[in-house]
Symmetry: C2
Subunit: 154 residues, 2 copies
DNA sequence: AATGAAAGTGATACTGG
DNA sequence: CCAGTATCACTTTCATT
């Protein structure tokens, strides 16, 4: 993984539909050499897949919320499985601090959030307590990772 | 936006590199009709773009952290601009509760986190106080949105 | 590993139904 | 919206360095 691979990854995060010709210009290589590098990055699972990036509002996911969860002891595996099955739960992280987990949810509206938390979070025997934060506005939301170790921000 | 469009969007979130032929089978339409629908979804910006989905660990973003930020009054615009410029800041949301903002960060390691927060978050005049949570493990992390209003989770 | 060219595949556009 | 065709672009492969 060298500078060229990193440039390719930057480009493919911004535009995954760019052709190899365009990508080759970014990389400073021929088309075939570029194709090989992309293939290698896929095989090594540095590139996990290719996704359409959707506008949440356009698909009815208007509301973004974060939920802190406190779990009863020994219930983590059950909880993980439950979270993985719920499409509205985009993320589920064990975190430092007074709470066991932090969830990121996308739902239609406040009513849907209320129902969802009551039924699928607080309704779980594994869950002892929870606290919900609603996002009021988002200044930034991206899945684009910094590919060069981001010590050097401008 | 009907059931067919939603099926297409589900498929394209899972595999954005699927060809039109495969997609047409999912949609239950001909290739040409499928191609038109995808094009329409792009024009309407329901599909915002196409991205390579990278493994964070493979590109040196080992550490995931969340940072709560309390801002001094009237500094929001400055703060937004600052956050947008920082690649390590993947998300920046105004949230309900005692804090003004919740940030999601990806960095190389704890040392990088410490330096980053000191310099780029707490170092800002706009920032009054902050609190950092480190993700210890992630049971789930996806950008795949539920396309049908997710009232109906199984 | 990279190049350049040749060969194969799939997307795009247009016709008519 | 479907089927079919033609064109064009892109990916893939291979011989060569």
């Amino acid at each position: 993984m060298d500078e060229i691979d990193r440039n390719i990854l930057v480009a493919l995060q911004e535009n995954g539909a760019a052709g190899l010709a365009e990508l080759a210009k970014v990389a400073g290589l021929s088309v075939s050499a570029t194709a090989e590098r992309v293939k290698r990055l896929e095989e090594r699972a540095t590139i996990r897949g290719w996704r359409a990036d959707l506008d949440p509002n356009a698909v009815g996911c208007t509301l973004l919320a974060f939920v802190f969860v406190g779990l009863r002891p020994g219930q983590d595996e059950h909880f993980h499985r439950a979270m993985r099955r719920l499409e509205a739960v985009l993320e589920c992280h064990a975190v430092t601090g007074p709470w066991s987990y932090l969830l990121k949810l996308r739902l239609a509206d406040l009513r849907a959030l209320e129902l969802f938390v009551a039924e699928h979070i607080r309704g779980l025997p594994a869950v002892e307590r929870s606290e919900t934060l609603v996002a009021l506005a988002s200044a930034k939301e991206t899945a684009i990772l910094p590919v060069a170790p981001a010590d050097e921000e401008d």
